[in-house]
Amino acid sequence: MHVIVCAKQVVDVSEVKIDASTKKPMLEGVAKKISDIDKNAMEEALKIKEKFGGKITILTLGSPEAKENIKELLAVGGDEAILIKADGNEDYYASSQILAKAIEKIGDYDIILCGEASIDQFSGQMGPRIAGLLGIPQITYAQKIVAEEKEVMAEKNLGDSIVTIRSPYPVLITVTKEINEPRLPSLMQILASSNKPIHEWDVSSLGKIEAKVEVIETKGLTFERKNVIYDEGEMEERVKKVVENVIKEGVLG
């Protein structure tokens, strides 16, 4: 079984601060990591490999510095990685075109796994777009995957219902954060991963692709809160003060 895992390097969104004067998010210097839900996709790939053997290829579109984060996925059990080097200004359309072309170039695959969305943009477009471009079935928001020899069953979590879908290979599946708890690599695995190949492809080798949307502005959201915090004195007193304030606010109707 050949599984391709699409993984994106993103800024750690919990570390993003808003500049008080410009009201823009400050992204410079913020730590980067593999998008959380892509790690859940990787974990599912590992389970499939444990069951059937085969190979896991990690596919990333991003800057050369993404190599450091890709190594973590190789350490937990990825066999090789392909990093398509680009400047990061690709829109959803261009990114999916590039990834689909790369997958066509890789050729033989049974399952493509993605996170349901990346934690930075949270568009959820990549998986379905890639499936659409390749003309293969898609199963999104999977909370459970059972892979068999010839086909896969997955549960799509729609919140108010669960839809079970069966598909032969090849198929693209996007997973939710709830599907599993991604494992961490052992020290031995981390050391051994340095010998695993990360192939670097230049984005231009996949053809010229123009964006269909551009981001013209990113505005930071700031919130004015009163921040009246009671952290000392008897608990009864703290509670009384809060209740008094809430009643004064007139929000209890």
Binding site: Y92, P128, S161, T176, T218, G220, V243, I247
Partner: protein, 314 residues
């Protein structure tokens, strides 16, 4: 044309309202698509000039076939803007459709507007820290709009055309084998005016009773953060507030034992007044709070219940 599709009637009305505005500004017709059965007459009364009713090849929504159907209709006409209902099905449908049409797409838009003849689409990014304004450089411009983003304008008597179509789609090898409806608890946190919400600070499922007692006094709806609904499953996902859960805007939001991860904040940031109780003085929830108590919820919640009960005489 401006084209509207959602697999949900209420959401379709919301999109038709916004779609009508955009269509009038662009001076183009507004069309809607129904796959299977639907309310074509009502859609016309809510603003559609033309409704395509397509015989469904399937009993249930499936992105591959539905995307083929929409692509087929759109290719026959000059679609400028395509509004898709932004629930989970809509998001995967819009994305696959965008791939088929080589189109730009922005999902989960909190607002769309026109800049000349280009669509501007606003979307929350970086875990709720910022809004990115996208401008489309091409047509068709595909956007998904989540439920309750726009109000439904009143319907009016108007004329429109209903076109029945049968569209042959490619046969896909994937099949739906089961649909399990989750038990609905009749909880609607999105409409709640007062929410008492709990998180990882709860030690066991039975302790939700303490939260319920406070909620009862305040006539509040119970909410929760991700771990309680998704991991521990102590409450159903109807209660889940956050980026992947429900987005709420009550007059009062009381966060009990919730640390305030950015994903949770994204779901409750529009609340009028926020009260937080947490053991950890450095918990990020306090930055989002108007009033806070640093302390154990097991100590504070019964006291809050007692005090509110006395003050409100309930």
């Amino acid at each position: 044309m401006v084209l509207v599709y959602a697999d949900d009637e209420q959401l379709t009305y919301e999109l038709l309202g916004k779609g009508r505005e955009i269509a009038d500004e662009l001076n183009v017709p507004l069309k809607a698509v129904i796959i299977g059965e639907g309310k074509e007459k009502e859609y016309i009364e809510h603003g559609a000039d033309k409704v395509f009713v397509v015989e469904s090849p399937l009993q249930h929504f499936k992105a591959e076939e539905y995307s083929d159907i929409l692509a087929n209709i759109i290719r026959e006409m000059e679609a400028k803007v395509i509004l898709i209902g932004g629930n989970k099905n809509g998001r995967e449908l819009a994305s696959r459709l965008a791939a088929q049409l080589n189109a730009g797409c922005v999902t989960d838009c909190i607002n769309i507007s026109l800049d000349g003849s280009n669509i501007l689409a606003e979307k929350v990014v970086y875990g709720g820290n910022a809004i990115a304004i996208h401008r489309f450089l091409s047509e068709p411009s595909i956007v998904t709009i989540p439920p309750k983003t726009y109000d439904v304008p009143p319907s009016e008597k108007r004329d429109g055309e209903v076109i029945r179509k049968k569209i042959d789609t490619k046969e896909y090898p994937s099949k739906i084998v089961n649909i399990e409806k989750k038990e609905a608890e009749n909880v609607n946190v999105e409409a709640a005016e007062i929410i008492v919400s709990c998180g990882r600070g709860l030690k066991k499922k039975e302790d939700i009773q303490k939260i319920e007692e406070l909620a009862k006094v305040l006539k509040a709806t119970i909410g929760c953060s991700r771990p309680i609904a998704a991991d521990l499953k102590w409450l159903s996902e109807d209660h889940w507030i956050g980026l992947s859960g429900h987005k709420v805007k009550p007059r009062l939001y009381i966060a009990l034992g919730i640390s305030g991860q950015i994903q949770h904040i994204a779901g409750m940031r529009d609340s009028d007044i926020v009260v937080a109780v947490n053991k950890d003085a450095d918990a990020p929830i306090f930055k989002m709070a108007d009033y806070g108590i640093v302390g154990d919820i097991y100590e504070a919640v019964p006291l809050l219940t007692k005090e509110f009960k006395e003050k409100l005489g309930s």
